[in-house]
């Protein structure tokens, strides 16, 4: 992780408006939010509340209609596609609801993919993957393709992939939505451990009570706005 004192994320009055035929949909409305490094934050809310769109805006997957976003101190809003790709590569890790591993790569190759793009040396890649696979209980499954892994195992590989490139933050969009209770709990244990031991910043979009219950900060969204922002001890 970067040793910088800048927040992992800062948004300032961001809006995201979609035009759907004649209708204008305000998915995110005037959201200002700061996430410090090392946080374990959940953005919660019902379907359509704008939490996934907010995550996409923070991760540079889409651009705000208005307002500004900083990730690790870099302003995202005005970046070119090339710069956004570099930002995502170096500063943001993603964990998706549908796991989204690349089916043509093995678990090991999926996990090291961002590091390959970063140009991390082979031995360094191997060392990081080895450590993270041990922490996540995935040792011995390195050569399996995603199709040969369970949902929980796939999501663990996705978490390793997101963390191994040492980003400023990991954005996880409904990471437990496709998992059963036990697997969800186990995955949360893994992510909490990575947060505690390695200082990885996690921001979740979720409506899973388990995730909300174990997060240290809970941001509630309703109709595209932040309704409440609660930090727990």
């Amino acid at each position: 992780m970067s040793e910088s004192n800048t927040p992992a994320v800062r948004t300032e009055g961001i809006w995201k408006v979609f035009q759907q035929e004649a209708e204008e949909i305000q998915a995110v409305r005037d959201v200002s939010l700061t996430v410090e490094r090392g946080e374990f934050t959940a953005i919660a809310g019902p379907s359509g509340s704008g939490k996934t769109t907010l995550l996409n805006l923070i991760g540079g997957l889409t651009r705000p209609t208005r307002g500004r976003v900083w990730v690790a101190g870099q302003e995202v809003s005005e970046m070119s596609n090339q710069q956004l790709a570099q930002l995502r590569l170096d500063q943001v890790g993603f964990v998706f609801q549908a796991f989204n591993l690349l089916p043509v790569l093995t678990a090991m190759e999926n996990a090291e993919f961002p590091m390959l793009l970063q140009g991390v040396a082979a031995d360094e890649r191997a060392a990081r993957i080895d450590e993270l696979f041990k922490r996540t209980g995935m040792s011995g499954l390195e050569d399996r393709r995603p199709g040969k892994l369970s949902g929980g195992q796939q999501q663990r590989v996705a978490v390793v992939r997101a963390v191994a490139s040492r980003p400023a933050l990991v954005l996880a969009d409904e990471p437990t939505a496709n998992l059963d209770s036990a697997t969800s709990e186990a995955l949360l244990d893994v992510m909490l451990e990575l947060n505690r031991d390695l200082g990885v910043t996690f921001v979740f979009a979720t409506h899973d009570a388990r995730v909300m219950g174990r997060s240290r900060r809970l941001v509630q969204m309703v109709d595209g706005r932040i309704d409440s922002d609660e930090t727990r001890a």
Binding site: N81, A98, L105, L116, L117
Partner: protein, 423 residues
Amino acid sequence: MHARTIVVLAMRNLRRQMRRTMLTAAVMVIGGALLIFAFALSDGTHEQWIDSGIRTSTGHVTIEQPEFRTSRRIENRLATDLRRKTEHALASPEIAGQVVAVSSRLSISALASSAAGARPAQILAVDPVAEARFSTLDDQLVEGRYLEPDDRLAAYIGVGLASSLELRLGSRLVVQAEDTEHEIAAQLLRVVGIFRNGVPEVDQAVVHIPLQTAGEWLGSHHDVTNVGVVLTGSTAVAAVTAHLERALVDPIARGDARVMGWREANPALAAAIAIDSFGNYLMFGILFIIIAFGIVNTILMSVLHRHREFGVLQALGLTPGQTGTIVLVEGLTLTAVSGFIGVSLGLLATWYFFGDGLDMSALMGEDMTFSGVVIDPVMVPQFRLVRIAQILTFILCIGAVASIYPALRAAKIDIAESMKFER
């Protein structure tokens, strides 16, 4: 590192949809093989046409007095010293490997007559030894023999003329033509051989006589109306023409000589080959447009099925350009590998089945001719490296062009939208 990662992803994606990949590859393989097969036969056939046409006319390259081609008059001839200079230039080591035969000839229009009547004739006065290497007429003997170096009043005539004038071996005929003094001069000849070429204009008009006899008859001595050159193939024409134009720069500048390739000397044959080639290009152009649509379809379907994956790749840090490059590499690899296999199979099949020629005589009948060319019913394929390179390049271009649109689609995806895809 990015390049290797992109190539690995592209290769594995091709393997992933093996059936679809193999089906598209099969179409490319068949297309490539057909292309090689058809062009090898076509190139071989065209070379036969050229060889047939040029050997009964003025060769791959001809050196003439500039006005002779339109006037056909004896006064527009190459003087003996210019003829010698031309023959000397053709003996140069620089082009010797490309020159198969050189024949210096005096070609004049004449009237041939016998007791049975008179017919217009095309007298070709030749050195019998040089002409035997140049022309195929000596091989088309029906009766008697071809001219020999010691012949004096010998005539070698076609079956058409022999029939019209009721001539047989040993028969006498008289030929009359304008001499160098613009007087009508007659020469008595005796038939020593009769040929059958198949081209009616040749069989009814061409008469070969010794060059020495013509020189004495017409007062042209050792002068000729053209020096014809047969080369190893039509591809050597440009180099030999350029060499001759350098060697004969002064006579050419004075207007005493002109160097022509077979296309210029035989425009009807050149046009026939161009039309035939155009037909081939058109047919295979259409075939490959259809194949290109097949490739576009295969790769585009693959891209559409992987919409979410391309979103993931870009979310992980791949740029739109790199994402599009994966698709381009897939398309190019597919076409390059299948194109190479297709070309190899095409060469092998053509060589195995038709190395000695494809006999079409059952379909063509006898003596199909055009533009002074007798079409050989046995089509012998010709393999040319340039043609193989052209076909491989063409296939690769088709692959590249067909991959561009799918690659753009992959590059320009909306990452956030693609994540919703198939969810």
